[in-house]
Amino acid sequence: MKTEIVAMILAGGQGTRLGKLTETIAKPAVPFGGRYRIIDFTLSNCVNSGIHNVGVVTQYQPLTLNSHIGNGTSWGLDGIDSGVTILQPYSSSDGEKWFQGTAHAVYQNMAYIDSLNPEYVLILSGDHIYKMDYEDMLEKHKDKKASLSVSVIEVSLEEASRFGIMNTDEADRIIEFEEKPAKPKSDLASMGIYIFNWDRLRKVLMNSYAKDGLMLDFGKHVIPAYLESGEAVFAYRFKGYWKDVGTIDSLWEANMEFIHLDNELNISDENWRIYSRNTISPPHFITKSGCIHQSLVVDGCYVAGTIENSILSTGVRIKEGTTIKDSVIMPGAQIGKNVHIERAIVGEDAVIGDNAIINSGEEIYVVGYNEVIGVKNDED
C-alpha cells in the first residue's frame, strides 16, 4: 500500500539560542501564545493539508515533547493509516545513531519512511510560527514535475543575507543557491521546507552514505548537489505570516504579535484550526481586583492583578497588587503579590515570590522552567 506523502518534522536541534527555555525541553515543545507549543503550528498545518503520517525527529530532551504529542489524538493523527511518530536516536548492531544534520537525520530514519512507502517526503522544521497549505505546494510540485520543491518567502534585501537565498529563472526554477550571501541577488529566502520525490532522495542519500557520507545537511549539501546534477528544483512562493522563533527576542516578538488575534496569522480562522493538546482545565477567573488590557488569557488562569499587553498561559496564577506588562507567562507559572514583571518570558511552572521585580530594561528577561524567584509563600 502506497502513501502519497510523509512529513518529517526535524525538531532535532537543541536551540541553544533560546537559552534557559531549551535547557530541559526540546525547542518544538516550547510554549507559545497561551495554549500552544511551537510544534502545534506545523502539526496542524500537516493535518489541515491532508497529510496523515508525520515523523518527528528529535534527540534532545524529548519528555515534554513526547507527552505533548502523546498518541496524536489532539491533532486527529491517531486514526487508521495515520499517525505521528516520534523518532529518536537508537542503538543498533552497527553502533549508536545520533543525528548529525538535517539530511543525516532523514537518512537515519529511512526505515520509518520506507515502512510507509511514500511517493513524496515533505521536510519541515518544528520551530516556525505560520500557516501553510502543503497540499497546494504538493500540487505545484506535481504540476512542475519537480524533483525537489523549496518553499521560499520574499524578504527585504537587508535581511536576505541572513538566509539561504534562491535565485530563480522566470519559471521559478532554482538556478542558484547561496547560503547567507553578502550581496544577495534575489529576495527569495528558503523557509527550510522541502518536498522531495522520495525515490530520488533515497538514492542520493544511500549513495552518499555508502561512500563519503558528506550529505549531512539539506541546505549545505543536498540542495547544491541537486542543482549541480541538474535535477528539476523549483521554488514555491509562500505569502503570509512566517516567523522563526529561534531566539529569545524573536520568540517574545512573535508572542507580542500574536496578542492581536486579528493579525496576519489569523489564528481564529475556523477553516484552518491550530490544534493543541487539551489540558482539561476549568475556565479562567478574574477576581474583583483583576484588570486586563490588550492581553490573551486561557483556561485555568486566576487573575487578581493587572495585565497589560501580555499573554497568560494555561493555569497561570497572578495574585493581587501584581502588574504584568509586555510579557509572556508560560503554563503553570505562579506569581505572588505586588510583583512587577515587564518585558519578560516567565517559564513553565516558575514561581515568583511576593514583591519581586523583574524588568531588565531593553533586554527580554527570561525566568527558567520551574525557577523560583524570591520566597515562595504558602498557598493562601
Partner: protein, 387 residues
C-alpha cells in the same frame, strides 16, 4: 487464573431521571444532561467524568428519544470521556416518551436486562445529571462493599432551599428504619438540614436484575431511578453521605445560583479542581482576547471570547463577543452570544447564540433572572428590573 469478573468492577447506568419542567426554556429543546454550565461544561460532563475517573468500562446511557440529537451532538464517539477505549462498552438506549404505557415498560425493562445480563461487572451504579456534583465512585463502591447491605443510596445534608417538591428526603429513624419522604412533607434533622436523596445508587448487578425482573412481572412502567426510589423501603439500605459540592438543578434560580457559585473560589475548587478531573468536549478555541478598553471584575471566562466592554459578576462561555461600551452584570452568557456596543445585560441568562442589539437593555432581578431563548435576537429592551 482468577476471573476478572472481579470484585472491583462496576458498570454504570446514566439516565435522564429528572423532571425538568421547572427549568423553562432552558430545557425546552435539550435534556438537563446537556444544559451548558460554567462557561465550558454541560451537566452530563460531571457524571461522565465520575465514570471515567473510576475507570468504569461499561456504560449504558438511558435517555428519552426526544433528547437524542442534543446528546449525540455532545457525546459523539465518547472519546473525551474515554468511552471509546478498547475494553469499554457503551450503549445508548433512547426510549419513546409514552412512559406510562405497559408497552413502554416491556421494552424499557427488556433493554435494561439485556444490558445487565451481558455485563461482566459485579456492581452497578445508577446516576443522573440533575444533581450537580463531583463524586468518587470508587470510594462509594468501597463503602458499599464494607457495609454489606442490599443497596447504597447517596444523600447530602442540605438547607431547605436546596430541596424542591419533586425531591425525596431520607428520614432516618430507628437502626434500620429508613423512610423516604417527599420533600414537601419532610421535617428537618435536629440541625435544621434535610437529607436530600441524590438519586445515586449502587448495588450488585444480580440484585438489580432481580428487581427489574420483578418490575417486569408486575407490569410496571417506571423508569429506573423512580423504580429504585419506590422500592427502597423493601431493601436493606446503606446511606452514604456525600460531603462535596452539590447543586440540585430543580429550578432556574438553582441553575443561576450554581453558576454564580463558581465565582466563589472555595466552591469552584471543590467542584472543578478536585482530585477528579472534569472532562468535556474538546473545542480547540483560541485564547480569549481582552482589548484596551475591557473592564472585567469577578467573572469567569471560557476561551474564544473577545471582550471589549464591561463584565462584572458574570459567567461568559465560549465564543462570546462583548463589544465596546457594552455592560454585562450578574449574568450567564452561553456560547456564541454577542452583546453589541452600548447594550446592557443584567441578571439574565442568555441561552446560546443570543444577540443583543446595540443600546438595548435586558434586565432581570437577583430573585428572577431573565432567561432569553437560544438564537434570539433582542432588538428592544426586556425586563427592567421590575418583572
Amino acid at each position: 487464573m482468577k476471573t476478572k469478573m472481579s470484585s472491583n468492577k462496576m458498570c454504570a447506568i446514566l439516565g435522564n431521571l429528572e423532571n425538568d419542567e421547572n427549568l423553562g426554556t432552558l430545557t425546552k429543546k435539550r435534556p438537563i444532561a446537556t444544559l451548558p454550565f460554567d462557561c465550558k461544561y454541560r451537566l452530563v460532563d460531571f457524571p461522565l467524568s465520575s465514570i471515567a475517573n473510576a475507570h468504569i468500562n461499561e456504560v449504558l446511557m438511558l435517555f428519552d428519544e426526544k433528547d437524542r440529537r442534543s446528546l449525540m451532538d455532545h457525546i459523539q464517539s465518547g472519546k473525551e470521556w474515554n468511552l471509546d477505549a478498547l475494553q469499554n462498552h457503551f450503549f445508548f438506549y433512547f426510549y419513546s416518551n409514552e412512559h406510562q404505557a405497559e408497552s413502554f415498560g416491556l421494552e424499557y425493562y427488556g433493554n435494561l436486562l439485556d444490558y445487565l445480563q451481558k455485563s461482566k461487572s459485579q456492581y452497578t451504579v445508577v446516576l443522573g445529571s440533575k444533581m450537580l456534583c463531583n463524586i468518587d465512585l470508587r470510594i462509594l463502591l468501597r463503602n458499599h462493599k464494607g457495609q454489606g447491605r442490599d443497596i447504597t443510596a447517596v444523600f447530602k445534608k442540605v438547607d431547605s432551599s436546596q430541596t424542591g417538591p419533586h425531591d425525596r428526603i431520607f428520614a432516618i429513624n430507628e437502626p434500620n428504619g429508613l423512610n423516604l419522604i417527599d420533600a414537601e412533607h419532610a421535617s428537618p434533622n435536629a440541625d435544621g438540614k434535610y437529607n436530600l436523596c441524590m438519586d445515586i445508587y449502587i448495588l450488585e448487578t444480580e440484585r438489580l436484575v432481580t428487581i427489574i425482573q420483578q418490575a417486569e412481572k408486575q407490569k410496571k412502567a417506571e423508569i429506573l431511578p423512580q423504580l429504585l426510589k419506590n422500592i427502597l423501603g423493601d431493601l436493606q439500605v446503606n446511606l452514604y453521605e456525600y460531603t462535596g459540592y452539590l447543586s440540585n438543578m430543580n429550578s432556574i434560580s438553582a441553575f443561576y445560583q450554581a453558576n454564580m457559585d463558581m465565582l466563589n473560589t472555595t466552591k469552584q475548587n471543590a467542584l472543578l479542581y478536585s482530585n477528579q478531573k472534569i472532562y468535556t468536549k474538546v473545542k480547540n478555541e483560541v485564547p480569549t482576547y481582552y482589548s484596551e478598553s475591557s473592564d472585567v471584575k469577578n467573572s469567569q471566562f471560557a476561551t474564544g471570547c473577545l471582550i471589549e466592554g464591561q463584565v462584572t459578576d458574570s459567567i461568559i462561555s465560549r465564543k462570546v463577543v462583548i463589544y465596546n461600551d457594552a455592560v454585562v452584570k450578574n449574568s450567564i452568557l452561553m456560547p456564541g452570544c454577542r452583546i453589541l456596543p452600548g447594550a446592557v445585560v443584567e441578571y439574565a441568562i442568555l441561552d446560546k447564540n443570543v444577540i443583543v442589539d446595540a443600546n438595548t437593555a435586558i434586565k432581570g432581578t437577583a430573585e428572577n433572572p431573565l432567561v432569553i431563548e437560544k438564537n434570539a435576537g433582542i432588538r428592544e429592551n426586556v425586563g427592567g428590573g421590575s418583572e
